[in-house]
């Protein structure tokens, strides 16, 4: 059955069957195995998963910052309809920062401690935009104002260490915005911050998306941040997408047993539970990913087919889940309907 062609305009970012590998002494390990998704203009796609699920690697691959020996071993990444995964380094450098911005977790490591904030901003602006020093400085002040730094004109000549954690992250966001990118890869942008600052940064990101029509790929392990910010969410597990769909659907009615377990394991205020629902065991290491569905040893719904064949994303109503429960041809379904 062909999918309805309602998404007529080309997505801003399209990732097709992306595969990322790295060689080790014991053979080649596959860190990202055949994942596909797209981000529309102005859309916020959340990517969640546990550490090691491959969410940051996916982001790094898109902006061309995979550290060797990691390499893209298959598939393609299209930005605005053009392939960017095979561009030479110099061409990619032009896109990174100009069309695609990046925000990383720790603001202290993404800023150079030896240069003033203003110098780092004007340098970025002048690298990507045709501006003289004075115009770039004016733009830098505007950017700092935009991200809510009080006294922007005076703070321009301050060094990163003179800012607090929350303010530093605002500077990093200003840097990412410097050349008006159309897509921002935000990798755990609020993880290193305190809760009250985290709320401020989330609100800021949401406002910037709305005002600039910017698309964001928001990588985080915090489902709460996703719930507040994203339009759609992709749940990753062991280098694959387990479930993808509109945020509200995935959070309220998760389909993949892993997502169900993940949502159940988050403590919520107002829900009095003696015990949290827990998924026993741990995510497999890269060298030991089981055959079939990678989640099968921990899954409460597991049946024969899960141990043999690897599921791809299957439609389940509003979301898609990589789970054989949602394939009409699965025996389990047949058994269930026979009983029902």
């Amino acid at each position: 059955m062909p999918e309805p062609l309602v998404t007529a305009p080309t997505p801003l970012l399209q990732v097709d069957h992306l595969k990322i590998e790295f060689p080790t002494r014991h053979g080649t390990l596959t860190a990202i195995d055949d994942i596909s998704f797209s981000i529309a203009v102005g859309e916020v796609l959340g990517v969640v998963g546990e550490s090691g699920a491959g969410k940051s690697l996916t982001g790094a691959a898109i902006i061309g910052l995979l550290e060797p020996p990691l390499r893209i071993a298959g598939g393609q990444i299209l930005f605005d309809g053009k392939r960017i995964d095979n561009l030479p380094a110099e061409k990619m450098r032009r896109i990174r920062g100009k069309s695609i911005g990046a925000i990383f977790q720790d603001p202290l490591t993404s800023l150079n401690p030896l240069y003033t904030v203003g110098r780092q901003l004007t340098e970025t602006i002048r690298t990507h935009l045709d501006m003289d020093e004075r115009a770039a400085r004016r733009r830098a002040v505007e950017l700092l104002q935009e991200v809510g730094i009080p006294g922007a004109a005076q703070r321009l000549d301050a060094y990163p260490h003179q800012f607090s954690g929350g303010m530093r992250q605002r500077v990093v966001i200003a840097l990412a915005l410097a050349a008006n990118p159309r897509l921002i890869i935000a990798d755990e942008p609020t993880t290193a911050l305190d809760v009250s600052i985290q709320a401020q940064i989330i609100t800021l990101l949401k406002r910037l998306c709305r005002d600039h029509g910017m698309a964001v790929m928001l990588v985080t392990h915090d489902m709460g941040v996703i719930a507040e910010t994203a339009d759609r969410v992709a749940v990753m597990y062991a280098g694959r997408i387990a479930e993808i769909g509109p945020v509200r659907e995935v959070i309220k009615h998760p389909k993949h047993p892993y997502t169900v377990g993940l949502m159940g394991s988050i403590p919520t205020i107002g829900h009095d539970l003696e015990r949290l629902r827990q998924i026993d065991g741990a995510m497999p290491r890269l060298g030991g990913i089981p055959t079939g569905c990678a989640f099968n040893p921990r899954c409460s719904e597991v049946f024969d087919r899960c141990r043999r064949e690897r599921p791809n994303l299957l439609p389940t109503g509003d979301t898609k889940a990589a789970c054989w429960l949602y394939d009409a041809a699965s025996e389990k379904r047949a058994v269930e309907t026979a009983h029902g």
């Binding site: 009250s196 609100t203 709460g224 159940g264 403590p267 205020i269 003696e274 827990q278």
Partner: protein, 354 residues
């Protein structure tokens, strides 16, 4: 005196809280070096990390401290286990003040009863030691068992208690995941048969699904072994899940202490309300949140009066001048002039009342 100090663990005094903290204060000298001060004319500077904190924990219960980085919650934890000495005030475990015991030999029985679990399971286990030696260290230090065979058996038992296998004892910490390492930390903490565990952000470094495993394990152990917890976290949902009673800290002081259910259903202090309002909305109610401007001020030079007043919408002249103390309001302890004067409006609750 010494007799009394080394109170027999078996002797239970009813109604006495297991932990009693009175006017606990810890100041750190953060001045520039002497010569720099002499040349540059700088003054001595004191960081009041913990500034007059009072609370108690009943036997078998969980008391939690919540607050943002720099509020002093970890310093309180370290003061209680004796990693720091207090500048002022007392920490009494079962009626005994650790600071009153001078020699290591006198301190040992008390230290055996109080153990700590740290935040980072990658930094708190010695990478050069096998897991069985890490867990056996408290047993050997406190000379709880004599024969190597008995120690081995006990280590195996402890590993099973935290849902690892006795065979895991032969491995090194790097062979375990974050969640498994935190289990090893818990096993080590339990090795000396403590009654009281101080848990400083025990799940903050873990993924949510692993966090659920550890929280469930800690609750099981509490029920089975009758443990008392001081639990420290910045994650309010985790606090809600584990706590009987909660203390909210801001810049070295407690601003509100209440039963967990009550605190979340009816927060009184404006800072508690701010914290509750920052919780990401997993229920997807689409409520508009009002982000609170401002950040935690520099603790070296805290604001006058109520330290929260520059960020508080309800602050008036009195708040800027006079520091509020904890007072009882409807069974909750709150340090806020606005609450005391009854000029604080009820909060539109973001969270369904428990």
């Amino acid at each position: 005196m010494v007799k009394l100090a080394t109170a027999q663990p078996g002797v239970l005094v009813p109604d006495r809280p297991l932990l009693q903290v009175t006017d606990l204060t810890r100041h750190f000298d953060v001045s520039a070096p002497w010569l720099t001060r002499l040349v540059g004319g700088g003054k001595r500077q004191t960081l009041k990390a913990v500034d007059g904190v009072d609370f108690e924990i009943e036997r078998g219960k969980t008391f939690s401290l919540v607050g943002e980085s720099g509020c002093g919650k970890s310093t309180v934890a370290r003061l209680i286990v004796g990693l720091y000495g207090p500048s002022r005030g007392r920490v009494e475990v079962d009626g005994v003040d650790l600071a009153g015991l001078k020699t290591r030999a006198e301190q040992a029985p008390l230290k055996r009863r109080v153990q700590m679990i740290f935040q980072d399971p990658f930094a708190s286990l010695n990478p050069r030691w096998r897991v069985k030696d890490i867990i056996a260290e408290p047993i050997r230090t406190h000379k709880l068992l004599d024969s190597p065979a008995a120690v081995r058996a006990r280590v195996g038992e402890l590993l099973s208690q935290v849902k690892l296998t006795p065979a895991d004892g032969d491995k090194y910490p790097h062979e375990f995941s974050g969640g498994q390492r935190q289990r090893i930390s818990i096993a080590r903490a339990l090795a000396s048969n403590p009654e009281f565990l101080v848990c400083d952000e025990p799940t903050s470094a873990l993924d949510v699904s692993v966090q659920a495993q550890i929280l469930n394990l800690m609750k099981d152990l509490q029920r089975r072994l009758g443990l008392t917890y001081l639990f420290i976290s910045h994650n309010l949902a985790v606090i809600y899940h584990v706590s009987d009673r909660v203390g909210v800290m801001y810049l070295g002081r407690l601003v509100e202490v209440a039963d967990a259910k009550k605190l979340f259903a009816r927060p009184r202090h404006p800072y508690t309300r701010l914290l509750l309002d920052t919780i990401p909305d997993l229920e997807m109610t689409g409520r508009a949140r009002i982000p609170v401007a401002g950040e935690v001020p520099n603790p070296i030079n805290p604001p006058s009066g109520c330290a929260f007043h520059p960020r508080c919408a309800f602050a008036n002249e009195r708040c800027r001048v006079e520091r509020p103390n904890l007072r009882i309001a409807d069974g909750t302890l709150v340090a806020c002039h606005a609450v005391e004067e009854g000029r604080l409006p009820e909060m539109a609750l973001a969270v369904p009342a428990a």
